[in-house]
């Protein structure tokens, strides 16, 4: 009996496919499947978010604490004024029964305002400082109230949660640390942000509120114009980051102004006399 090791042809135990080809197919396939999955789940969550009772939303507390306001009386004055304005706007366009708006004031330089879970609306001093009339302020207020009315905060929370769950599942099964952190970064970009449709819907609602309250739309786009003119080549204010201002949006407000035919004697409502003083005193 003869024993020998014959020379075997190559490629029996290994694959002849080029690794780059496999890599491309896998990456494209996995990306496609994950995006499809996210899309379906996000659509579902958007649909069902509306049915979550508002009272449940109130229990999810996301608190933004102001770093010890210097002047509590002024803070209280501003909050009362803002709350009254919100209540007046809500009166003209009533919210569902269990929905309430609570306005807060944050004594910080940021030029921003936002609505969050549970009907809480936050205004920063930086933004209030830019206000030229009550109408401009009411436009922002009505816009934030609209976000609450349309349940945008809970919808975007739903999106965020879905994104986070899928991302952590996928990245942990891929099992590579760097890939995991890549996935996570992509995930957090989307958390708690409103999309363009949400902004447009809120604008429409805000315009109706404003018209119902003042009988005209004068001053509605003042703030946007001021912010756009001011930022020029500099970094845009946070308000424009979270409320992306496209020319389309500005145009929409302007055409609405024409559509609602402003009363010829339309006049801007001034801010309270002491408004600037309240803000100034709060700065140190």
């Amino acid at each position: 009996m003869e024993y020998s090791n014959p020379e075997l042809p190559e490629g029996i135990n290994t694959s002849k496919e080029h690794p780059l080809k496999e890599f491309l197919i896998l990456t494209a396939g996995v990306t496609l499947i994950i995006s499809g999955l996210i899309l379906i789940l996000v659509l579902l969550s958007d649909h069902f978010a509306k049915y979550i009772p508002f009272s449940w939303e109130k229990h999810i507390s996301l608190s933004f604490v102001d770093e010890a306001p210097k002047n509590t009386t002024n803070k209280k004055n501003i909050e009362t004024y803002l709350q009254n304005l919100a209540d007046k706007l809500v009166l003209k366009q009533p919210l569902p029964d269990d929905m309430t708006i609570k306005v807060h004031y944050l004594d910080q330089d940021q030029v921003n305002a936002f609505a969050t879970l549970g009907g809480h609306v936050y205004f920063y001093r930086g933004l209030l400082d830019k206000m030229t009339s009550e109408n401009a302020l009411a436009m922002v207020m009505a816009h934030e109230i609209a976000h609450v009315r349309y349940r945008h905060p809970i919808q975007s929370l739903g999106r965020g949660v879905i994104f986070a769950v899928i991302v952590s599942t996928v990245s942990s099964s891929v099992g590579d640390t760097i890939m995991q952190s890549l996935f996570n970064q992509a995930g957090f970009l989307t958390v708690l942000k409103f999309n363009r449709q949400m902004e447009i819907a809120s604008d429409e609602y805000a315009i109706q509120s404003l018209y119902a309250h003042y009988g005209h739309l004068k001053g509605a786009d003042d703030l946007f114009k001021i912010l756009q003119d001011e930022h020029g080549d500099n970094e845009p204010y946070e308000f424009l980051n979270t409320h992306p201002l496209t020319t389309k949006r500005l145009k929409y407000i302007q055409t609405s102004e024409e559509k609602y035919r402003p009363a010829t004697n339309a006049e801007l409502t001034a801010l309270p006399d002491q408004f600037k003083k309240w803000l100034a005193n709060n700065q140190k």
């Binding site: 135990n13 990456t27 996995v30 891929v174 099992g175 590579d176 952190s181």
Partner: protein
């Protein structure tokens, strides 16, 4: 963004170095397999009944090979969809053949004619975080028959 750049650099260098090392290793394996073909490695336990007397000796060959970053990423993506993990197949193939070659090399240096009853053992020696296999060890051992 920084993470993305690091990731792409690792991926590209993993692919470049990994491909180069693999090709070089295969060339060397094929050349040495031809050279050591005169010492057959046989899996059977029974030695040929030729009447020839042999000394028998344990011979071993051992190798550890690591995967590159590119292979790890491909295997990670494979993890999601299933199928042949071809990026690990070449790794195992190389390790197995290299271990047998080293075993034969030892047998040759002892003047053996054949190696009988060969066995292979494989283990991953570095599992890393979350069981991501980093490198593989293959041990080949058998009984070398040295004519008296």
């Amino acid at each position: 963004m920084v993470d993305l750049i690091i990731f792409l650099i690792l991926l590209a260098s993993g692919y470049g170095f990994g491909r180069h090392a693999e090709k070089k290793h295969y060339r060397s394996i094929i050349a040495r397999e031809k050279e050591l073909n005169l010492i057959p490695a046989i899996a059977t336990k029974l030695i040929p009944a030729t009447g020839q007397l042999y000394d028998s000796n344990l011979v071993t060959g051992n190798v550890v090979i690591s995967i590159d970053y590119f292979k790890r990423v491909i295997a990670g993506l494979r993890n999601l969809v299933g199928g042949r993990v071809s990026s690990y197949e070449t790794l195992i193939d190389r390790a197995r053949r290299e271990a047998i070659l080293r075993m034969k090399q030892q047998a040759k240096s002892e003047g053996a004619e054949m190696v009988f009853n060969i066995k292979l053992e494989t283990s991953s020696i570095h599992k890393g975080r979350r069981n991501a296999v980093g490198s593989v060890e293959v041990l080949a051992y058998g009984t070398a028959l040295i004519p008296k």
